[in-house]
């Protein structure tokens, strides 16, 4: 990374299989990654720290991903958000983009796809 500092990523998903697969892949690609299965903890964390990129599921037990990403954008407008969801509909996709998310991936997706998306988001941040 030319900035000398790693791009930071927070991932929120209530399914550990997603985190277990994503975290090592992103870390090996040179990102600094924190993962959360509980939205309350993720919420606290984004209030403490501005992440470069947030990757979040939309539908999780107990909370609304939409609410979470709204909160992220309010607190840190520069954060790029990537939505990953197993319940992809046109409405949720539209609503997500209206809220300013960077990209929207429907599960299941290939590891290469999300790495590409993250790289693009990173480039957008660097170009700012």
């Amino acid at each position: 990374m030319n900035t000398g500092q790693k791009t930071s990523i927070l991932i929120l998903d209530d399914e550990t299989i997603v985190l277990k697969r994503l975290k090592p892949a992103l870390e090996k690609a040179g990102y600094e990654v924190e993962t959360f299965t509980r939205s309350a903890e993720a919420s606290n964390r984004v209030n403490e720290k501005d992440f470069d990129i947030v990757i979040t599921d939309l539908k999780m037990e107990g909370i609304d991903g939409m609410q979470f990403l709204t909160q992220v954008k309010q607190h840190s407008p520069a954060t790029e958000i990537v939505v990953i969801t197993g319940f992809a509909t046109m409405e949720t996709a539209k609503e997500s983009f209206q809220k300013g998310v960077f990209d929207f991936l429907a599960k299941p997706f290939k590891l290469g796809e999300i790495l590409d998306t993250v790289r693009k988001a990173e480039k957008k941040i660097q170009d700012k």
Binding site: E15, G30, L111
Partner: protein, 856 residues
């Protein structure tokens, strides 16, 4: 779900068009089922990120499709195949049980023989039993014969004696600090020890003992009886928390069982659980009952130094006699530091004076004995023994995808026995070793990335070894990376030794991938360029997590993966694998077999297969053999090729004058059907036709079984085509595989299409998938869009002018003829290319004949 179709009532006849629309529905759903099945299979490779929702929704989708299929078959054949409903309900409820998180296991299991245990049963047999059984069943390592007394036996024991409540009260008082840990422990233990083992459990244990007596060939056994608690040896080691009883005579089995159960409530175990945040209700104790191994020497192997993994060594501890005192630190032991690479050289050896060893006592129990003077300062292990232990250890490490802590012993016959294997925690050591994994990785050049498909996740490092033929396999070195042009089932011979597999060609659902998954050898297939870019002897690291091949050995990457939870070990992955077992395997192969009945359907694939067969049969039966709809005449095709093909004309498919029973090839007026038949009848393609000389000799050099099977009418199925002037739907079962063609040709180019589906075969999966690869190449060269998954192939082409469409369908006809027996002959991968060439040559030779048919 309501299956009983409203279809035709008895006596009433549906017009053929209505039957046909149901039939098309069956075909359509059939395709959807097969595609969804292949899609789910793909997810078991390492390329995708899926979640529980994916499993739930695909299982739901699958159940919906299969129930619609059944509904539509009931419409075609009312009340004839009602047993399909039961078959469906049974399979579906098993899947639902799995999805609800309940392992589907037989109700009677108070014990489970090791032969039947896999890791999926860890919840019923505990971690230790599951690990030991899997080492034997999967990796073929020697382990003690034995059986598990399950958690269900434990529940039954508690209920029978009303212990649930009593223990609950004491545990509550303890957690509220009303009584001390020691008192709580003593009270609970005395309750357990004075309780009685229910008769059913007793009987089960007796039958288990009888079984291992037979295995051991000994009527009176001495046993090792160990705890195998839930979660023990997997996430948490509970090392040394629970009791292990050694050399117990078999008549003590029940008492020993109770003693081990009671040890669940030792003060230290209760405290350990409390610290780790376990609830007392969460404890379910399974017990291992094993034949006692009378060891001459024993010890422990760590496959890495947990404190300093960067040393990259095996740590080996050994002593004379039984190993228990080494574990508890009661005796001194020799320490070996050994290289992780063949030939496993010793880099450090600390031989201590071993004055005492633990030995089994006559009549039961163990005692410390003096070690003979000349053995006291002699190292316990020979180089060969060290090599044996190292190879077993590294095999287990790779299979478990984690560094290992292994208890081993050599018995009186000199055999290496693995007593236990559990995960070794290197997390702390690794964090000191590598601060930033990405910078380590960045220091190594990427040879290629994201080129193929991951067939098995994992990290493997070693020397490239190119495999071209079987002789190469004989020389395959331990720990190398197998690189080959194509996949082959013969790789199974060396897969135990390989640290990784990379091929140019192959699929994630093929046979090779299955073998790689069985042994958890990291594998990437279908890279296209591996044999070209990699050089023999080159050191590489294969990252089959992220699909990258690096130059050089990156140990850090391997150890990094040891610190992460493996993807394949996640609950969701295991769940998908378990539900797929109830969906994908095909057991109903031969329609002429007496077992081709609804009751024999064990998977959704079986039901789907059965329905397709019966739907074709029904349509032929209804409109050809029995009542005939005058608007849709059925005729049998008279042709040189013994097709047994019934054609049903739904409008302009025949020219006017046909015999009431039969139709000649020339009388077929359907444009797509004519094109298909002209391809099918091309000289040289249908293999019972005379062949050109060099093709014939080429074929006969390949196999002797080739010609014997051809004339057999049994190998030709009953076949059906529904045609009109512009349309053909052709269902052919030739031998055991299926061709389905659906095509439309008119002057309106935008409506034109051809769809070709090819599936199955009677030979092994690999030969079948070679055949579909051949078809894929032929179609691909001719501009079809080809979708290939395992041995299911779908080729599509559309929107061509009528003449061009005819040519495409002509090619399909040629392919159907050409491939009829091909899977039998395809005994190696090189043949794919040769058959493609041969097919092209035949096509060209027949150019003039094609012109005669007006399709060239």
């Amino acid at each position: 779900m309501e299956f009983l179709g409203h279809g035709r009532g008895t006596g009433k006849k549906l017009p053929f068009t209505a039957l046909f629309s149901k039939f098309r529905k069956v075909l359509d759903i059939n395709n959807q089922v097969l595609e969804l099945m292949a899609d789910m299979g793909d997810k078991l490779g390492g390329d995708y990120i899926f979640d529980r929702q994916y499993i739930l929704s695909t299982c739901q989708g699958m159940a919906d499709l299969v129930s619609k299929l059944i509904y539509n078959l009931h419409g075609l054949a009312p009340k004839k195949y009602l047993q399909l409903n039961d078959a469906f309900r049974k399979i579906n409820s098993e899947i639902e049980e799995e999805l609800a998180g309940r392992l589907v296991i037989p109700q009677t299991d108070y014990i489970m023989r090791y032969e039947l245990i896999t890791r999926d049963f860890a919840d019923v047999v505990g971690g230790k039993n599951a690990n030991v059984a899997e080492l034997k069943n999967h990796l073929d390592l020697e382990t003690p014969d034995g059986f598990a007394v399950t958690t269900r036996a434990y529940q039954s024991f508690l209920q029978h004696n009303n212990l649930d409540e009593k223990i609950g009260e004491i545990a509550k008082a303890w957690s509220e600090k009303e009584i001390s840990t020691e008192d709580a422990s003593a009270n609970i233990q005395s309750l357990v020890l004075s309780a009685t083992v229910p008769q059913k459990v007793r009987k089960a244990i007796e039958s288990g003992l009888l079984h291992i007596q037979e295995l051991a060939g000994d009527k009176h056994l001495y046993l090792a009886i160990r705890s195998s608690a839930l979660g023990e040896d997997t996430e948490y080691t509970f090392a040394g928390q629970y009791l292990s009883l050694l050399n117990e005579p078999q008549e003590n089995a029940l008492d020993s069982y109770k003693k081990v159960l009671a040890s669940t409530y030792s003060p230290s175990a209760m405290q350990y659980r409390q610290e780790k945040g376990f609830l007392e209700q969460e404890i379910a104790m399974a017990v291992a009952i094993q034949v006692m191994i009378d060891a001459t020497k024993s010890g422990v192997l760590y496959t890495l130094d947990p404190i300093h993994p960067e040393r990259d060594v095996l740590l080996l501890t050994a002593t004379w006699g039984l190993g228990a005192p080494v574990l508890s630190g009661k005796v001194r032991a020799d320490q070996y530091t050994v290289s992780r690479e063949p030939p496993y050289e010793i880099s450090a050896l600390d031989v201590v004076r071993k004055t005492e060893s633990l030995a089994p006592k006559e009549g039961g129990g163990c005692e410390m004995q003096p070690v003979p003077h000349d053995l006291q300062t002699r190292p316990c292990l020979s180089d060969i023994e060290i090599k044996q232990i190292a190879e077993a250890g590294l095999l287990i490490e790779r299979y478990s995808m984690k560094a290992q802590d292994i208890e081993w012993a050599f018995d009186r016959k000199g055999r290496l026995i693995i007593l236990q294997a559990r995960q070794l925690n290197i997390r702390g050591g690794f964090q000191r070793m590598v601060e930033d994994i990405s910078s380590v990785v960045a220091g190594h050049p990427v040879i290629f990335a994201h080129k193929g498909v991951i067939a098995q996740n994992g990290i493997g490092a070693g020397k490239v070894f190119m495999v071209k033929d079987d002789k190469d396999l004989d020389r395959f070195p331990q720990g190398a990376i197998l690189v080959a042009r194509q996949t082959s089932p013969r790789f199974a011979r060396v897969v135990r030794k390989a640290n990784g597999i990379i091929t140019d060609i192959g699929t994630s659902t093929g046979h090779m991938a299955t073998i790689a998954r069985e042994f958890k050898v990291p594998a990437i297939v279908n890279t296209g360029i591996a044999t070209e870019r990699l050089k023999p002897g080159q050191l590489i690291t294969l990252d089959a997590e992220d699909n990258v091949v690096y130059a050089g050995i990156i140990k850090e990457l391997l150890y990094y993966s040891f610190t992460e939870d493996a993807f394949a070990e996640t609950y969701e992955y295991r769940l998908l694998r378990r539900v797929l077992k109830k969906i994908s395997p095909l057991n109903l192969l031969d329609p002429l077999d007496g077992n081709f009945v609804p009751q024999a359907c064990r998977t959704f694939h079986d039901i789907t297969r059965f329905i397709h067969e019966k739907a074709v049969e029904e349509l032929i039966d209804l409109n050809y053999y029995r009542h005939r709809d005058p608007d849709a005449p059925g005729r049998k095709l008279q042709s040189a090729i013994p097709l047994d093909l019934v054609m049903i004309d739904i409008g302009g498919g025949f020219s006017e004058e046909t015999d009431p029973e039969n139709v000649q090839v020339e009388q077929v007026a359907s444009v797509p059907m004519r094109a298909f038949l002209s391809g099918l009848n091309m000289p040289g393609f249908w293999s019972s036709e005379p062949m050109s000389v060099d093709f014939g000799s080429f074929m006969s050099s390949l196999t002797k079984t080739f010609s014997s099977d051809i004339a057999n009418p049994k190998s030709i199925g009953q076949n059906l085509a529904i045609i009109s002037k512009t349309y053909a739907n052709i269902n052919l079962r030739l031998g055991y595989h299926f061709n389905m063609i659906d095509a439309y040709i008119s002057e309106n180019i935008h409506d034109n299409y051809a769809y070709f589906r090819f599936l199955g075969g009677v030979t092994d999966q690999t030969r079948r998938s070679r055949r579909v690869k051949f078809i894929a190449e032929v179609l691909g060269k001719r501009d079809f869009r080809v979708d290939l998954r395992g041995d299911l192939l779908v080729g599509r082409i559309k929107k061509l002018a009528p003449e061009a469409m005819k040519k495409k369908i002509h090619i399909i006809g040629q392919l159907v003829a050409f491939t009829r027996q091909l899977d039998v002959q395809m005994d190696n991968d090189q043949q794919i290319g040769r058959f493609v060439e041969e097919f092209d040559r035949l096509t060209q030779t027949n150019g003039s004949a094609n012109q005669l048919e007006g399709t060239a």
